[in-house]
Amino acid sequence: MKYKTSVYSDEKNYNTYRSLSKIGRAFVLLIPIIFFIIIVYPFIWMFLASFKTTNEIFSNIWGLPGKWQFGNYIDAWKSGISKYFLNSVIVTVATCLLNLIISCMFAFALSAFEFKGKQIFYTIAISGLMFSPIVSLIPLYQEVQALHLYDSLLALILIYTAYQMPMSVMIIFSAFMSIDHAFMDAAKIDGCNSFKVLTAVFMPISKPIMLTSIVLTAFYAWNEFSFALTFIKTKIKMTIPIGLISFQGEMHTEWSVLLAGLVISAVPIIVFFIFAQKYFVAGLNAGGVKG
């Protein structure tokens, strides 16, 4: 062994190294174990506290709830969370669909046609990745008002689409480019128009990457905060992330109900992740864009 001769001059030292490395390995395992506790414990605490009375959260900070207060969940659901939930579902589904359609069309134009300015259009779309939404908040606010979109879910759907599109175009374009153009020529000979080629050839072949784009968009739309905060005013139109803030304002003495609201908001996204993990990781592989 190279090791033995080059680094450890004699047998004894080498054995010390081996046993040290055993201790070392156990020690190294401590790092993820401790981090695991740091990540998981706040969730467990939140879950247990959401079943306590507000007094009990302070008096019995560690233990199980004395009596499981399922009523907290009913109160939270009835006092607004159900509406926020529905709004978030509408915004998320609509954003995913609109973004998918527009991005597929864009990527299709760039991959299936030869035309002037092709490279420029690609650069335009991709450069959208550079601009963070937060920088445009003030002019967008003016614009949304001028377009009479203020305080509407449509404003969120359009803006979320605009800021997700560059990433979607990037990954869908690379999938479309890998499609054998023989397919397209065959379809053309069969008399398909270009729209048919897109919907019957390109999109079905690229299903996995389209699912990846949908999953990434869904996480973004479900969690987006700063636009929703700025463009939605009426309570009944709020999505979950900002609804919870206004909920906190009303419930600031009812900690237990607020905590139940937090659990209700967190659970769907965790469940969704468990089912969509494969596509999410594929997205990390393709783009590595911050979710």
Binding site: M1, P32, I39, P42, F115, F131, L140, P241, V281
Partner: protein, 290 residues
């Protein structure tokens, strides 16, 4: 497909939506930043770069900028350094199932809405909350603080939440990269008798350099853009000690109606994040040529 206009029709919806909601606002923002524009007083006039020179004499802005820099430095330590160590350990674990459980668990916080996590941590940081209770339990009562209620600790409490939320995300990016390293390389190193630590530094790290660089860049530009965490957890307080550039921008625009002044902050944030983006594409391009 002979019609020349056809590809442009496919591009059109995307171009419109990008122009209206991404590019036009950026240009407008630049224009606004050169105005003295007060919504409440109803005044609006061109003042050139005066907003910018005023900003750099504004103590609160300088505090905010300093907080952004704290954010970046601490995030680089945890979301690049610690995440890399974590990724190395998990990928080197013998028990693959346990390592998968760790990986998924660490990743989950990055998926959950910041509002949920922010509000959860405002409970944890309360004077009578979980963190102080834990410190009491382990006989470290001397370390107890008001956390988000004290000027000295507020910004660091927020930064800690960001680390808690995001370490798993960059770790996952790094793990995905590590898994792309050809198996033979590790096997060859194992045959040479290289231990875990040695393989980590001589095989893993050099092979995922690009991904490490990417997490470095994502984390740095994220540190300039940070908004949600601060807004939800401290709102910039107490007495504006935990403001960052974006929350200050929001505050000037939507609370005080100073549109021009606030847009100047927006432009500065844009400038910082574009420098980082340019660095990124510059580095990756020169790599591509080699």
């Amino acid at each position: 497909m002979k019609k020349k206009i056809e590809p442009y029709l496919y591009l059109l919806p995307g171009l419109i939506i990008l122009a209206v909601f991404v590019f036009y606002p950026i240009i407008r923002n630049l224009g606004y930043s050169m105005l003295s524009w007060d919504l409440f007083k109803g005044t609006k006039k061109f003042i050139g770069l005066h907003n910018y020179s005023k900003l750099f004499q504004n103590k609160i802005f300088l505090t905010a900028l300093k907080n952004n820099i704290y954010y970046i430095i601490i995030s680089l330590i945890f979301q690049v350094g610690f995440s890399l160590i974590l990724a190395g350990i998990l990928e080197n674990m013998k028990n693959k199932r346990l390592s998968a459980v760790f990986r998924t668990t660490f990743f989950v916080p990055s998926l959950i809405s910041l509002t949920v996590i922010g509000l959860l941590f405002t409970f944890i940081y309360q004077p009578t909350g979980l963190l102080n209770a834990i410190l009491d339990a382990v006989h470290l009562s001397g370390l107890k603080h008001g956390w988000i209620g004290e000027e000295g600790t507020a910004i660091f409490s927020v930064i800690a939440v960001s680390q808690w939320k995001s370490i798993g995300y960059t770790m996952m990016l790094l793990i995905v990269a590590i898994q792309r390293i050809p198996e033979e390389m590790n096997e060859a190193a194992l045959l040479d008798g290289a231990g875990g630590v040695k393989r980590f530094f001589y095989i893993t790290v050099p092979n995922i350099k690009d991904t490490i660089l990417m997490t470095f860049i994502i984390t740095t530009s994220g540190g300039f853009l940070i908004f949600n965490e601060v807004y939800v957890i401290t709102g910039g307080g107490p007495s504006q000690s935990s403001e960052v550039m974006s929350t200050l921008m929001y505050d000037y625009a939507f609370v005080h109606g100073k549109i021009g002044y606030s847009s100047a902050i927006g432009t500065i944030i844009l400038l910082f994040s574009m420098i980082i983006a340019a660095l990124q594409s510059g580095i990756f391009k020169s790599r591509g040529k080699n």
